[in-house]
C-alpha cells in the first residue's frame, strides 16, 4: 500500500514537555483520517509539524514516498498540504474572494488585481468542489460555518491535496457541522485526503475511515472506524473507563427560584439583543439553553448577573426583584457565574490561584471582617482546601493562573463559584476547550450541585452537552425563548431547527 504521507518516529519537544514522542502516522490517499485525543495529547502539534510550523527534533516525513524537510508552511503548501486552523486566519474586512486569493492574487501587469479573472476562476473553482459561498460578501458578515468554508477554499486554491482540519466542528452548530461533513465527503470523492482533528468521539466515528488515537504525545493505536465504538475510543483516549452518560437522580423540582419576566436589553452593537424573554428556573434543576451563538445568550447571562442593564422587564430571585441590583449584591444573594470566556471574565491571569479563588469574596467574612484588611492566613487555608477538594493541578497556591492549562484554569473558576454555596449557577460554556477528563469532572460537579438543590442554567454550543445534563431545554433565537422542551420528548433535529428559527410544529 502506498501512503501519501508517512511520518516516522516524530519527536517534538517544548521546553518542559515532550509533545510528540516517536510518533508514527500515515495517510492513505483519499481517506478521511481522524486524529483523536484529549487537549494536550499532541494532535495539533503533530499536524503543525507536518504543516511546517514546528520542527521535529527527530524523525522523518515522507510525502508521496519522498523524504521531505518541511521547515515552514510555504514548503508544505508547495507539497500540497493545506491546514485550516482552529482560529481562522482571515482578514475580516476583505471579501471572500479577496481572502481566498490572498498571497496568490492574479494580477494585470503585476500591479492591479485582476478582479474579473478572480471571480471567474473562483466560481468555477467553487462549483468544482461543490462548496457554495457568496464570493462578494465581506468576511465579518458571514456566519462561522461560512468562514470555515472560505478557509477550506483557501487551502484548496493553493493546491492542497491533503487537507488538515483542526477541531473544525468546535465552532459550528449541528446543522453547520452536517454541511461540513457533506462537503468533506464530496472532497474525499474527488480524491482529496483529509485529516480530521477532534476530541469528539461521535463525529470522528461518523465521518472518518480510520482513526488514530493519541494520548500524552504517544500513538495509542490506529483503528478502522467501522470496527470500533465510542467506549473503546474513550478508553484509549483517556486511559481509563469514561462515563459517557450520566445517571441523574430524578428530582422533583417544585420551587421556582428565578423568574424572568418580559426581559429586554440592548446588545453591544446598540440594538435590541433580548426581545422579551420569559423563563423560570426551579431548584434542583438544570435548564439548558440551546441556541446558535449570538442570539442573545450573552445578553441574557449578563442581565441575570447584573453586568448589563435591562431596558424592560424584571428578574426575580426568590421572590425578590433584583433587576436594579449590582453584580456584587447578586453575588451575595447566591448567584454564581461561570463565564463564557474564563480568560476574559472569569480569571485574572496575573493573579495567583489563591487570589483568584477569593475574587468576589475578598471583602466578606471570613476573609475580611472589617472590609479593610484581608486575612491572608485564612485565604491561604481556604485556597489549599479548594485546591485539594477540586484537585486543581497547580504547583502551589501562589502560581499565577496564566501558567496553568485551560482545564485547570476552568477548575479554578468552578471551585470558586461552587464554593459560594450558590442558589443559582449560570454555567456559560463551562467545558469549552476542556478535554474529556476535565469535562467529565465539571459535569459531575454540576450534577452534584443540582443534587444539593442549586438551580443551574447551562448554556453550551455543544448540543450533546445540553442533552446529557439538562432537565429541560429552552431554545433561544433572536433574543427570544422560542420553545421549552423536555429532552426525553424531543430530538436533535427538532432542537436544531428551532435554533435556526424554524418552528417544526407549524410546518
Amino acid at each position: 500500500m502506498t501512503f501519501v504521507i508517512e511520518m516516522k518516529d516524530i519527536t517534538v519537544t517544548f521546553p518542559s514537555v515532550v509533545a510528540n514522542d516517536k510518533i508514527n502516522f500515515s495517510l492513505q490517499k483519499g481517506e478521511i483520517h481522524g486524529l483523536l485525543g484529549e487537549n494536550g495529547a499532541g494532535k495539533s502539534v503533530l499536524m503543525k509539524t507536518l504543516y511546517g510550523m514546528h520542527r521535529p527534533d527527530s524523525g522523518q516525513i515522507f510525502v508521496n514516498g519522498n523524504e521531505e524537510k518541511i521547515d515552514n508552511p510555504s514548503t508544505a503548501i508547495n507539497l500540497g498540504i493545506g491546514m485550516v486552523h482552529q482560529h481562522f486566519m482571515l482578514v475580516p474586512h476583505l471579501t471572500v474572494s479577496e481572502n481566498i486569493v490572498l498571497g496568490k492574487e492574479p494580477t494585470t501587469n503585476r500591479i492591479f488585481l485582476d478582479t474579473k479573472k478572480i471571480l471567474r476562476d473562483l466560481s468555477v473553482f467553487c462549483d468544482k468542489y461543490n462548496l457554495d459561498v457568496d464570493l462578494g460578501s465581506t468576511i465579518y458578515t458571514l456566519p462561522v460555518g461560512m468562514q470555515q468554508r472560505v478557509e477550506i477554499l483557501k487551502a484548496l486554491y493553493r493546491g492542497a491535496d491533503i487537507l488538515i482540519l483542526d477541531e473544525p466542528t468546535s465552532v459550528l452548530t449541528p446543522q453547520e457541522a452536517e454541511e461540513l461533513f457533506k462537503a468533506l465527503e464530496a472532497l474525499k470523492s474527488q480524491g482529496k485526503t483529509i485529516v480530521f482533528i477532534s476530541h469528539k468521539l461521535k463525529e470522528v466515528l461518523k465521518i472518518c475511515d480510520n482513526i488514530t488515537v493519541l494520548r500524552k504525545g504517544k500513538v495509542i493505536g490506529t483503528l478502522k472506524a467501522s470496527e470500533t465504538n465510542q467506549n473503546e475510543l474513550a478508553k484509549m483516549m483517556v486511559g481509563r473507563k469514561v462515563r459517557l452518560s450520566y445517571n441523574k437522580e430524578e428530582k422533583i423540582a417544585n420551587k421556582i427560584i428565578l423568574r424572568i419576566e418580559n426581559l429586554e436589553a440592548i446588545n453591544n452593537l446598540g440594538i435590541s439583543g433580548l426581545k422579551g424573554v420569559n423563563l423560570n428556573v426551579k431548584t434542583s434543576e438544570i435548564l439548558g439553553i440551546a441556541g446558535v451563538q449570538g442570539n442573545g445568550q450573552t445578553e441574557l447571562v449578563e442581565v441575570i448577573t447584573g453586568l448589563r442593564k435591562a431596558t424592560e422587564g424584571r428578574v426575580i430571585l426568590n421572590s425578590e426583584d433584583i433587576t436594579g441590583k449590582s453584580p456584587k449584591d447578586r453575588l451575595k444573594m447566591g448567584i454564581s457565574h461561570i463565564p463564557e470566556d474564563r480568560q476574559q471574565r472569569g480569571l485574572i491571569s496575573d493573579f495567583s490561584v489563591m487570589e483568584n479563588l477569593i475574587l468576589g469574596s475578598q471583602d466578606l467574612p471570613p476573609f475580611s471582617k472589617d472590609k479593610i484588611r484581608i486575612n491572608f492566613t485564612k485565604v491561604a487555608h481556604f485556597a489549599k482546601k479548594l485546591i485539594c477538594d477540586f484537585s486543581i493541578k497547580t504547583p502551589n497556591k501562589d502560581t499565577q493562573v496564566r501558567y496553568l492549562s485551560g482545564g485547570t484554569q476552568q477548575k479554578v473558576v468552578v471551585a470558586r463559584e461552587f464554593s459560594r454555596k450558590p442558589k443559582l449557577i449560570i454555567a456559560d460554556q463551562p467545558t469549552r476547550g476542556l478535554d474529556v477528563g476535565a469535562t467529565e469532572y465539571v459535569h459531575n460537579k454540576l450534577i452534584e450541585m443540582r443534587e444539593q438543590g442549586s438551580a443551574i442554567i447551562l448554556l453550551s454550543a455543544d448540543l450533546d452537552e445540553i442533552w446529557k445534563l439538562s432537565d429541560r431545554i429552552a431554545v433561544i433565537f433572536e433574543g427570544k425563548i422560542v420553545a421549552i422542551k423536555d429532552p426525553k420528548k424531543t430530538d436533535k433535529r427538532e432542537i436544531g431547527l428551532l435554533m435556526a428559527g424554524v418552528n417544526p410544529e407549524k410546518e
Binding site: L307, K328, L331, K332, H337, D350, F351, Q362, K371, I374
Partner: protein
C-alpha cells in the same frame, strides 16, 4: 546551654529565611541593576568622547554623594520628593491608570500646605504640621479627582487630562503666588510659613527634613495597602483585568476614582513635605519636575514600592553627586541627565536586558 543552642539554631534559621527572601527579591531587580550598569558604561563612553576620564568623573560623583555627611544629606534631600511622586505614579498604575499628572498634584498639594502653614497660626507644632500635610494630601487628591471623574463619567483618557491639568496647575499656582498670596518683594513666592508648621531638619546644615521619614512610612503603607487590603486587592484586580473584576462584583468605576485620588494625594503630600521641610514657602517654579521624575523612577523601580524607593535614591545620588562631579572635574552637570535617561532607556527595554541575561547564561 540547651536553650541557648535552640535559640542559635532558630536564629540561623531566621537568617537563612531572610537571606532566601532577599535573594528572591534581588533576582527581581537584576534587570534594573544591569540597566544601571549599562547606562554607566555608555555614559563613560560619552565621557571619553568628550575628553573626560570616566573613573575620575564617577569617582567624584560617588564621593560627592557619599563622601561626607553633607553629601549624604544632599543625596537624601534630592531623593525625598521623588519617593512620593513615584509612589503616586505606581499606585495609579496598579489600577491600570497612567497618571502622568503627578507634577500638577504635587504643586497643588504644595500650595495648599503653604497656605495652611502661613495662615493657621497659633496651633501646636504637631497639629499645625499634620493639618498642613493633610491639606496637601486633600488638595492633591482633589486635583486628581477631576481627571478621575472625567474618565469614569465621560470616558476622557487620563493621560490627556492629567497632563493638561498639570499645565493648569503650574500656571495657576504661578498666578496665585505672583498675585493673591505673594510676599512683598520682587520674587514670585508666598511669605514664609509659620515656624509651627515647619518639618524639623534632621541633618543640618543640609536641607534634609523629616519629610523623608514620611516618605519611608508611605513606601511601607503603599505596599501594605496594595498587597494586604481589600482596596489594594480590588485595585490590582481592576488594573489587571477590569472585566473579570466587574464579574467578581467589584465596582470598577469606584476603584478607578479611588486609585487616582489616592495617587494624587500621595503626590500632594510630597509637595507639602517639600514646602514644610525644605523651602518653608511656595516659590514659583520650585519643582524642577519632581512629578515627571516620579514616572521614570517608578518604572526604574519595577513598579514596586520598595524598588521605587531605591530608584529614587539612585536619582538622588546622581543629582547630588553630579554637582560635586561638576565642581571637581568640570564635567558638565548634563551628564547626569544623560545617565538618568540612559537608565530609563535600558530599563524600558526589558527584552534587550533579558536577551543579555540569556546570552550571559550561555557563556
Amino acid at each position: 546551654m540547651l536553650i541557648l543552642k535552640k535559640n542559635d539554631l532558630n536564629l540561623t534559621g531566621v537568617l537563612q529565611k531572610g537571606l532566601e527572601t532577599f535573594k528572591v527579591e534581588l533576582k527581581k531587580i537584576v534587570p534594573q541593576l544591569i540597566a544601571i550598569f549599562i547606562a554607566l558604561l555608555v555614559g563613560s563612553m560619552v565621557l571619553l568622547a568628550t575628553g573626560f576620564s570616566p573613573i575620575e568623573a564617577y569617582g567624584a560623583l560617588l564621593l560627592g554623594a557619599f563622601g561626607d555627611i553633607y553629601g549624604i544629606g544632599q543625596t537624601l534631600t534630592q531623593a525625598t520628593p521623588i519617593i512620593f511622586t513615584s509612589l503616586a505614579f505606581l499606585f495609579a498604575f496598579k489600577a491600570g491608570l497612567f497618571n502622568i499628572g503627578a507634577e500638577g498634584q504635587f504643586l497643588v498639594g504644595a500650595l495648599a500646605a503653604a497656605i495652611v502653614g502661613i495662615f493657621f497660626n497659633g496651633l501646636p507644632n504637631i497639629v499645625h504640621i499634620s493639618l498642613a500635610l493633610l491639606a496637601g494630601a486633600f488638595f492633591g487628591g482633589l486635583y486628581a479627582f477631576i481627571p478621575a471623574i472625567l474618565k469614569t463619567k465621560l470616558g476622557a483618557h487620563e493621560v490627556i487630562t492629567t497632563m493638561m491639568l498639570t499645565y493648569v496647575a503650574i500656571y495657576l499656582t504661578g498666578y496665585l503666588v505672583t498675585d493673591i498670596f505673594k510676599a512683598p518683594g520682587w520674587v514670585s513666592q508666598t511669605p514664609l510659613i509659620s515656624p509651627t508648621a515647619e518639618l524639623p531638619r534632621i541633618l543640618p546644615p543640609t536641607q534634609l527634613s523629616a519629610s523623608i521619614f514620611l516618605g519611608i512610612i508611605l513606601v511601607f503603607l503603599t505596599y501594605y495597602t496594595l498587597q494586604k487590603t481589600v482596596l489594594g486587592y480590588e485595585i490590582r484586580a481592576i488594573g489587571l483585568n477590569p472585566l473579570a473584576a466587574e464579574n467578581g462584583g467589584i465596582n470598577v468605576k469606584k476603584g478607578l476614582i479611588l486609585a487616582l485620588v489616592i495617587s494624587g494625594a500621595l503626590a500632594g503630600i510630597g509637595g507639602a513635605g517639600e514646602i514644610l521641610g525644605v523651602h518653608k514657602r511656595f516659590i514659583d517654579g520650585f519643582s524642577p519636575g519632581y512629578g515627571w521624575d516620579g514616572l521614570a523612577v517608578a518604572l526604574i523601580g519595577g513598579l514596586n514600592p520598595f524598588g521605587a524607593f531605591l530608584a529614587a535614591l539612585l536619582i538622588g545620588i546622581l543629582r547630588s553627586g553630579g554637582m560635586t562631579m561638576n565642581r571637581v572635574t568640570g564635567v558638565p552637570i548634563d551628564i547626569v541627565t544623560i545617565l538618568q535617561a540612559l537608565v530609563i532607556l535600558f530599563v524600558a527595554a526589558p527584552v534587550f536586558i533579558k536577551y543579555l541575561i540569556r546570552r550571559g547564561k550561555k557563556i
